[in-house]
């Protein structure tokens, strides 16, 4: 249990994003509440990454409003579609993030050791982060985000470039973080992954939110033709 007010729910009202005459996101209404794993599903170019960036505050929407219950720094973390690591050791990448979050030198070291152990990266702690494999890098950026004890974790296609084995490990990590009380908001274009992880689905298609609701309903009775076609595995563009 947390001893401070939750930043959730996150409420989006008519959030739009326009870039040179191109409406990339079209009046998105959505509510992300504490608890369920929210998956933003949609084909390539639907606007998933952009929506996640807007939710995380990296990009200002050109229209509409976005509102957290309360504002608290360091309550959110984000894992990007391509892992971004500093040219430092594996451990230093984590202690650096902890330093920005205000951890003391001792706590940084202890926390870093702890999460590296959990991620199975302890033997690599002193290696340059750049020599890690793609799967290990993804584990590391997840561990870095987890180290910060965020209340909300944004994940942008965290397994897009991984093989099934590595995907499984990452999905288990995500499940464990969720079980520990972290709100998961993640994007994917992988139906199988959505079936495995989603509690609720937000289906995005060409910048429009076509469906939002319980995952079970989405998979059994999709409400729109686009979602139905996407579920049948048809090429939706």
């Amino acid at each position: 249990m947390r001893d401070y007010a939750s930043i959730l729910p996150l409420q989006l009202e008519a959030v739009s994003y326009r870039a040179d005459d191109c409406l990339l996101l079209d009046r998105i209404d959505a509510r992300f509440r504490a608890g369920p794993r929210s998956l933003i599903l949609g084909p390539n170019g639907a606007g998933k990454s952009l929506l996640l960036r807007i939710c995380h505050g990296l990009v200002k929407p050109t229209g509409g409003t976005l509102c957290w219950a309360v504002a608290r720094p360091h309550a959110q973390a984000m894992v990007f579609q391509n892992p971004v690591l500093l040219r430092r050791s594996v451990r230093a990448n984590i202690t650096y993030a902890l330093a920005l979050a205000g951890y003391s030198r001792r706590d940084r070291r202890r926390r870093a050791e702890q999460v590296l152990e959990e991620a199975g990266l302890a033997p690599r702690a002193r290696h340059p982060a750049a020599v890690l494999s793609a799967g290990e890098k993804q584990k590391l950026v997840l561990a870095r985000a987890w180290a910060l004890r965020p209340e909300v974790l944004f994940l942008d296609e965290p397994t897009a470039n991984l093989d099934p084995g590595a995907t499984k490990v990452i999905e288990q990590t995500i499940t464990a973080m969720h079980a520990a009380g972290v709100k998961i908001i993640m994007t994917t274009h992988d139906l199988g992954q959505a079936r495995r992880l989603a509690d609720e689905i937000f289906f995005l298609h060409r910048g429009k939110l076509r469906e939002a609701g319980a995952a079970e309903t989405f998979f059994t009775q999709p409400g729109t033709a686009e979602a139905a076609a996407f579920l049948r595995g048809e090429l939706v563009i």
């Binding site: 960036r53 990296l58 360091h74 973390a77 971004v84 500093l86 040219r87 430092r88 979050a101 750049a130």
Partner: protein, 238 residues
């Protein structure tokens, strides 16, 4: 006076090998001037280049263009500007710095700060594009990002600093104008070579030339080593 090359070489080698005091005093002064200028230029150039890479403000483009241009500033022009600044009638004339090592340090600092700042700006800006969102997400502002990215670019920045040192050590025009090549006071390797050659004292000029070559080779060796480290960084820290 010796003028045939073989005898001159032999005499030069004698001066170098026996540790001729005058020769090594000139070498020591050269190193003191260029290394001090390098230190000052690095302390100014790295944060300046880093800040130019990360901050957006009116006039930024003009500043970047200015530094890029100053990279190619002819040393004699820099020397002339410092001369006018420091001469009796100049705005800083009261300090009596003209024809002292301090004047040479000022001139070389003006020559190499733009190199270090401009190269730093380039390297850090590339990194800023790659890291901006991640650093912002972790709660770092632009100010905090500057030291982070300077450290992130450390291998490339070493090359920038060595380029600055190379320019300072090889330069003769600026320090000749503001230093005056006074024996025992402002005589450096490059100014002495220029002067002794014109006077016909080839052994001394050649001896200095040999030492200068060795020093520049050493700098190049260090730069090469840096390059190798960067290559290894391609597999390691890149």
């Amino acid at each position: 006076m010796v003028s045939d090359p073989t005898t001159a070489f032999a005499a030069a080698w004698h001066l170098v090998a026996t540790g001729d005091r005058e020769l090594y005093a000139v070498v020591a002064l050269s190193l003191r001037v260029s290394l001090t200028a390098l230190l000052i230029a690095t302390v100014i150039g790295l944060p300046l280049g880093g800040a130019l890479a990360v901050y957006r403000f009116p006039g930024r483009g003009a500043m970047i263009a200015l530094f890029d241009t100053l990279m190619g500033l002819p040393p004699v022009v820099a020397g002339l500007a410092v001369y006018l600044l420091l001469s009796r009638a100049g705005p800083l004339g009261d300090y009596g710095l003209l024809f002292t090592p301090a004047a040479m340090i000022i001139a070389q600092t003006i020559l190499i700060t733009p190199i270090i700042a401009a190269l730093t700006r380039q390297f850090v800006e590339d990194d800023w594009h790659a890291y901006r969102e991640q650093l912002t997400s972790l709660g770092s502002g632009r100010g905090r990002a500057v030291p982070t990215l300077l450290w992130n670019c450390r291998y490339s920045l070493m090359t920038a600093v060595l380029a600055g040192l190379g320019r300072a050590m090889a330069e003769v025009g600026a320090i000749l104008i503001v230093g005056g090549n006074i024996a025992g006071v402002t005589r450096t390797m490059t100014t002495a070579i220029a002067l002794e050659t014109s006077k016909g004292d080839l052994p001394f000029a050649l001896g200095l030339g040999l030492v200068l070559m060795v020093l520049i080779l050493t700098v190049n060796g260090i730069a090469r080593l840096g390059g190798l480290m960067i290559q290894r960084a391609g597999a390691g820290y890149a």
